[in-house]
């Protein structure tokens, strides 16, 4: 799916491909590394809404998510020179900074387990959809295919952890399953996902 992954950019929303978005973000990061604060502001305009959505989902309290977003951009400014466009996608780098900051703050906040993210159901294997049909994960056709191979519990565990920021204990509590069971669901889910993603 060629749609641009960030919001709020009226000029480029329509037709920018992932690689064009990546190139633009990488260039902004290079300018941040050269201490160009206009580039940081532009980057903020482009990606802050998505990072904020992610932080709000994980941290739930708006004020904590706002504090985390500040921390994220301070870190981006300080570490921009470490980003290497040849070794990864800028959005994955930015999202990781945001998620890892949220996980640090989760420890401090001691929040109750987060509810299930309301994500659309993946297409089950066997009900293959046509090639033209929209996928439910933007740019994630492969991930979608691989997630569809997991059991519903495994999929729930991965999304509860990755998207909603839940720990093993939180997930066990939410699903009403023993902690050991949840841990082994996740371990096996990651193994099958890896095998599938690498092929």
């Amino acid at each position: 799916m060629p749609a641009s992954f960030y919001a709020g950019d009226e000029m480029n929303q329509a037709a920018e491909s992932d690689s064009e978005s990546d190139a633009r973000l990488a260039q902004l990061l290079a300018r941040c590394a050269a201490r160009d604060s206009a580039a940081l502001q532009r980057l903020y305009e482009l990606v802050a809404p998505l990072l904020f959505a992610c932080l709000k989902r994980m941290l739930r309290r708006r004020s904590v998510a706002e504090e985390a977003l500040q921390d994220v951009f301070v870190t981006v400014w300080q570490r921009a020179a470490q980003f290497d466009a040849e070794r990864g996608r800028p959005m994955a780098w930015l999202m990781s900074i945001a998620r890892y900051r949220a996980i640090d703050l989760l420890r401090r906040e001691r929040l109750a387990p987060a509810l299930m993210p309301d994500l659309p159901e993946p297409v089950a294997p066997g009900e293959e959809h046509g090639g033209d049909e929209a996928t439910w994960l933007p740019g994630g056709a492969l991930l979608e295919r691989c997630l569809a191979l997991l059991s519903p519990q495994q999929r729930d565990c991965l999304q509860l952890a990755f998207v909603a920021g839940n720990s093993h204990q939180d997930i066990a509590q939410l699903l009403g399953s023993p902690l050991g069971t949840v841990k082994s669901w996740i371990r096996r889910a990651l193994q099958s996902l890896k095998t599938c993603l690498e092929t």
Binding site: F5, Y6, A7, G8, A26, Q27, A30, A33, A34, R35, D36, S37, A38, A39, L40, Q41, A48, P49, L50, F52, A53, K56, R57, E66, Q70, V74, W77, A80, A81, Q82, R87, R89, M91, A92, M95, S96, Y100, I103, R107, L119, W136, L137, P138, G139, G140, L142, L143, L158, A161, F162, V163, G165, N166, S167, H168, I186, R187, L190, K194, L197
Partner: protein, 232 residues
């Protein structure tokens, strides 16, 4: 224990749980330390960060309140650069006149000082001056080049910034790697550099592997293109 364990199967499992977010507490902090020193672990982490990214891209974007950006600017002590307040027209004209007067004074000063630069270029970010480039000429031919780095100039990790002359008709010619903060480099120009500079109205800066472009042409992102101004 400071070094990452040698067991790739263990590292791979820890990396997946780290990225997923289920590795917590001291184990998480330990992995973060290992990651900084282990390219193998770095690779495993990046695999998951990139592959799971689509799960996050489907979140509905949420506009943060305006005070978040103001707080970031304050914490980083950035000068607000946008939106620029509209200057009243008369004030804008007055400012332009002052700028012209200042440039004229500078030009006059340079004519009076021996060994003056024939051409100058400044490369700045809104935070301040990054580099000042001066080209010294004899009988109209560029001879030497001096680059002075401001307090904000630094090179990206594992990379250098490289300076290029952009001749009007022709390929960019390297003028060397740019120095870090408050250092200066002096370059005696080779004949191709002299010709390129004589035909150039602009300079460019690109991001290159440490030590400069391996190909003799820019290979990384071009981050600045600035005019080369004649001083006389």
């Amino acid at each position: 224990m400071n070094a990452a364990p040698d067991n790739p199967v263990l590292l791979e499992r820890l990396a997946a749980e780290y990225v997923l977010g289920t590795l917590r507490g001291p184990a998480r902090q330990r992995l973060e330390r290992w990651r900084a020193d282990s390219p193998l672990l770095e690779g495993y982490c990046r695999f998951w960060e990139e592959r799971l990214l689509p799960l996050l891209l489907q979140l509905q974007p949420l506009a943060p309140p305006a005070h978040v950006w103001s707080a970031i600017e304050q914490r980083l002590q950035l000068r607000p650069v946008m939106p620029r307040p509209q200057l009243p027209r008369q004030l804008a004209i007055a400012a332009s006149v002052l700028l012209v007067a200042a440039l004229a004074t500078l030009a006059l000063w340079r004519t009076l000082v021996p060994g003056r630069a024939a051409e100058v270029a400044t490369i700045s970010s809104p935070a301040g001056l990054l580099w000042q480039v001066e080209v010294f000429a004899r009988a109209g031919t560029p001879q030497r080049l001096t680059v002075r780095a401001g307090v904000f100039a630094s090179h990206p990790a594992g990379h250098d910034y490289e300076l290029w002359a952009l001749p009007k008709n022709g390929k960019p010619v390297s003028l060397g790697v740019l120095p870090d903060q408050q250092r200066a480099t002096h370059l005696q120009l080779s004949s191709p550099q002299q010709q390129a500079l004589a035909a150039a109205a602009q300079l460019a800066v690109s991001v290159e592997p440490t030590g400069g472009s391996p190909t003799g042409q820019p290979t990384g992102a071009v981050v600045f293109v600035v005019p080369l101004r004649t001083v006389s």
